[in-house]
Symmetry: C2
Subunit: 109 residues, 2 copies
């Protein structure tokens, strides 16, 4: 599994990335907010690190994880690449039959 987008898509990992957006955290801190074990969380983090979405710093007996900006930018890019303007137009057309509307790629970035 070496595709950042696929790695980031897993729900627990999605949540980990969001939590790390607030700043660096240790494995145990992060695991505290999950129902699954420290071990599970650790493994998710290792995978995220492997695809370059997070990085870690060791301090004492703690390992502080943080987001990797370059990796996260690449993730964003991969999504934009997937979500072609074609898709935007398609859904924009469909909105004529509905009331709700989502922001387009350009607007949100």
């Amino acid at each position: 599994m070496l595709d950042p987008l696929e790695v980031a898509a897993e729900p627990n990992r999605r949540r980990l990335l969001q939590m790390l957006a607030a700043g660096e955290r240790t494995v145990t801190e992060l695991a505290g907010e999950f129902t699954v074990s420290r071990s599970a969380v650790s493994q998710h983090l290792l995978l995220l690190e492997q695809v370059g979405l997070v990085a870690a710093r060791k301090d004492g007996r703690n390992r502080f994880y943080r987001l990797d900006n370059a990796g996260m930018r690449e993730l964003r890019m991969l999504f934009e690449q997937f979500w072609t303007t074609e898709l935007d137009m398609l859904l924009a057309d469909a909105q004529n039959f509905t009331t709700d509307r989502l922001p387009t790629t350009e607007e949100s970035s």
Copy 2:
């Protein structure tokens, strides 16, 4: 696997969704552009259908798949929900310091 974002993230399925953005296609037409078998493609499509990202119409002995607009809109929503403004600001700030990259654990120890 009932999470649309996770389902859509798989590379082959990502590509299928993109191809379907151009209009409806049969399984064999789609499979023609893949190295994997018709069967594999069919199963990916069934999964996409299951989470509401595509829908199908039967005509003769063909099954025409197309994007499901509601499902695709939900997919977009899930991503926006993940990609909080916090993340946007984080990466925007990082631009100022440009391509800086913090050393990984392995490098620093």
